[in-house]
Every structure is written in C-alpha cells, then in structure tokens.
Amino acid sequence: MSRAGLIRTGVIVAALAALEAACRTGLIDRFSLSPPSEMAISAARILASGEYTRDILATFATVAAAAALSIVAGFGLGVVLYRFPRLKRAADPFLASYYAVPSFIFYPLFIVLFGLNRWPLVAVAFVFAVVAMAIASVDGFLSVRPILLRTAASLRLTRAQTLRHVILPAAAPYLFTGVKLTVVYAFIGVVAGEFILSGSGLGYRIAFAYQSFETATMYGLMLILLTAVVSVNMLLWARERRLHARLTR
C-alpha cells in the first residue's frame, strides 16, 4: 500500500475509534448515535436474521432498474444533444441547475400515474438520474479531440463507425463517470421516495425505525445501505482510474 493509503487507513481507523470512545464514555448521547461497533453488530444481525432481506432486495432491484433505464436513456439523450448543438445551448442552463431542485417532489404524481407499487419509485429515480448520464455523455462526446474525428473521416469511416469505434472509446472515461453518478442518483431517488411514501424498502424501514425509536436497527440499516453504495462506487472509481491512466499521457 502507498504511504498515502496507509495514512488514510490510519485516519479512518482513528476516526472510528474516537467515535466509539465518544459514544462509550457518554460524550455523545447513546440515543442519538450508536457506537460504530454496535452499528456493525446490528447490521450483521439484520443480515443474518433475514427479517429485512425482502426490503433490501426490493430497494436494490428498484435502484438497478432505474439506473439501467437512466444509463440507456441518458446516453441516447447525450447523443441527441451532441448532434444538435443549438438544442444543447438552449438546454444548458436547465442542465446546470437541474440538481438544485429535488425532482422527486413529483413522486406523488407518479403514484397517481402508476399506482402504489415499485414503479413510481423507478420513475422518480429515473427522472432524477437520467440527466446525470446525459450531461456526462455529451461532455464526453465534446471532449473527443477534433483530430481524432478528422482521422476517422480520412479513413473513410461512416457516421455509425465513427461513433462506435472513435467517439465511444475516446469518451469512455466520461461515460464511466456518468454511470457512477447515475447509480448514486438512482439510490437517492429510490430512498427519498421510500422515505416519502412507501410500504417497503430500506428507506421505509429506516424511517420506520427512526419513528419507533429503534436507534440500533436504524443505524444498522443505514450502515448496510451506505456500505453498499460506497462499495459500488469504489469499484467503479477504481476502474475509472485505470481507464484514465491508460488514456492520458
């Protein structure tokens, strides 16, 4: 491990130890925050008991569906914005401030449209996440050096061949970043929707545990959710770094 990596591990371990000590000595009120060790134990118990397995799977399946839809549609939207620069110029201010407005406030409308099941959650997460993928895609396409496009033309490539064999690989790091953001935003959309109005899912269970003063369960569930998101992200992040390393000189 690198020096920075060692120090980082040390910093994280020290922070967890300090938190643990603060909770154990009563510096932080037990009712507000469980010690990290108890969070981990609670998370392990939840996973072992299987009591919440259905909720966990429901949340992850919903996120996966929303992320998959967002990635495909966002990519398509990115292609359209790339092909029509005027459209992009007109859309820029909206895209730039899209994430200032919590678009999951439209969740109730989706419930009206789809009924009270998992589909409104997919829809609300899709609306939230698709723009991240679209922005990343169009940024990636625009980042392709013009010389590579001229090279494609000089090798007599068709438009489809240019997209498939030049623009896509050249924009790959950006697309990867887009996928990463899309997964995060899909999580936010689904969990927010489950908080607002739902009868199942991790977000619902966390809110329920909070309201019924089950602090240990609440932190256990939170730990499971956050660990899952951070792990997915770290995996994608590592791949992204490798891609960047090969493409930059």
């Binding site: 690198s2 020096r3 920075a4 120090i7 980082r8 910093v11 994280i12 009712f31 507000s32 925050l33 820029d92 201010p93 909206f94 730039a96 401030s97 899209y98 994430y99 200032a100 407005v101 919590p102 406030i105 439209f106 969740y107 109730p108 409308l109 009206v112 990463k180 995060v184 999580f187 936010i188 969990v191 927010a192 908080f195 607002i196 109005l197 977000g203 966390i206 809110a207 909070y210 609440m218 939170m222 959710l225 956050l226 998101v229 951070v230 992200n233 770290m234 992040w237």
Partner: protein
C-alpha cells in the same frame, strides 16, 4: 388530475402574493444563505489546504469522493437527532451537500496550476502573498468558480431536502404538505417556482463560469 400551464401560472401568481408562501420563501432563503456561506467558505478553505499539501490531498481525496457519492438523504434521521427540528438542521443538511464538491474542485484547481507559473513567480522575486494574489488565484479561478457553481446547486438541494424531511418550515415543508394533502396544483406551482429560481441563478453562475473559464490561464 394534472393542471394546464395557464391555470398553473395563474395559481402561481396568486401564490406569490400569499403571506404564508412569502414566509416560506423567506425561511428557505435564510437557511440557504447560511448553508451556502458555510459550504462555500469551508469548502474553499479545505480545498486550498488539501491542494497546497500534496500528501494530505492524496490521503483525503478518496475519502471526499466517497462522501460525495453517499446518498446523504439517508442521513436525515441522524441530522434530526443531533439538531432537532429547526433552522440549524436545514442549514446543516444544505451545508453537508454543498461543501464536498467545492472542496474537491478547489483542490483540483490548486493542484492543476502548472509548476512553471510558480517558477516564474520566483524568478520575478514575488513574495508568498503576491504569488497567491497574482499567480495562484487567477490561475485557479476557473476551477474554483465551477466548484462554487455546483456547490450552489447541491446546497439548495440539501436545504430543500432538509426542509422536506426535517423541518416544519420553508418551501420544502410546503412541498411535503402539498404531497400529503394531494394538492397537485400547489405542488406543481411550487415546483415551477423552484425550477425558475434555480435555473435563473444557475444560468447566471454558468455565464460567470464560462466568462472566467475563457480568460482562465493555462492548459486544461
């Protein structure tokens, strides 16, 4: 169920004159202003420190990236437990959303200054203050402004989320109430208002971003 655009606009016009709505706007604006000051201020300081000290930056970057990617909405019960149902909870929620991107962008901007600029500063015998003022600041400005812009958006998002789940006041709370009472007309009018304000501010910041970016020095 859904309302037409003309009807929505008329309704929004009436809403703008409504006292309760004005109070909500004021509450949100106050929380947002405080949260933005905290997010921008501490984000800049953290970013500058991490950018200036290479090892600290390398230690902190993956941690910050991980924090950036955490769906912070999950943490709303924690914020409630610590801050209670009040202004501080909304401000805290806004600030934790905005601070990380500002710090990350600032750090990247400081690190991205070509070393030859500092060698030039030394060869011109500039002191540390003059170097910071005349070399570092103008060279980093484009990156920093981009970070401030994204921090602006996410802080607003954070404040609104905070108001939705952890407050009895502000526009976010009005949204939740409209949801609970199924008042679609109010919901759409509120959304329209928020979109208009956010897009207006976003367009201004984007223009500033591009202006600074064009003049910004150095290869990207």
């Amino acid at each position: 169920m859904l309302t037409g655009p003309v009807e929505t606009l008329t309704y929004l016009g009436g809403l703008l004159a409504d006292h309760e709505f004005q109070l909500g706007v004021w509450e949100t604006a106050r929380a947002f202003g405080l949260a933005l000051a905290i997010a921008w201020g501490s984000g800049l300081v953290i970013g500058l420190l991490l950018g200036a000290h290479r090892l600290t930056g390398e230690v902190a970057e993956p941690i910050l990236t991980a924090l950036y990617s955490v769906p912070k909405i999950t943490l709303y019960p924690v914020i409630l437990l610590f801050f209670g149902l009040g202004l501080s909870a909304r401000v805290a929620f806004g600030a934790i959303h905005g601070v990380v991107p500002v710090a990350l962008f600032t750090m990247a901007a400081v690190r991205g200054v070509p070393p030859v600029y500092f060698r030039t500063a030394r060869s011109l015998r500039l002191g540390p203050v003059a170097t910071a003022r005349h070399i570092l600041l103008p060279a980093c400005l484009p990156g920093i402004v981009s970070g401030l812009r994204i921090g602006f958006s996410l802080t607003l998002l954070g404040v609104l989320i905070g108001e939705m789940f952890a407050s009895q006041r502000g526009l976010g709370h009005m949204v939740i109430r409209a949801m609970e009472t199924n008042d679609v007309r109010l919901l759409i009018a509120l959304a329209l208002f928020l979109v208009a304000v956010a897009t207006g501010a976003g367009a201004l910041l984007l223009a500033l971003d591009r202006h600074v970016g064009r003049r910004g020095a150095g290869p990207r």
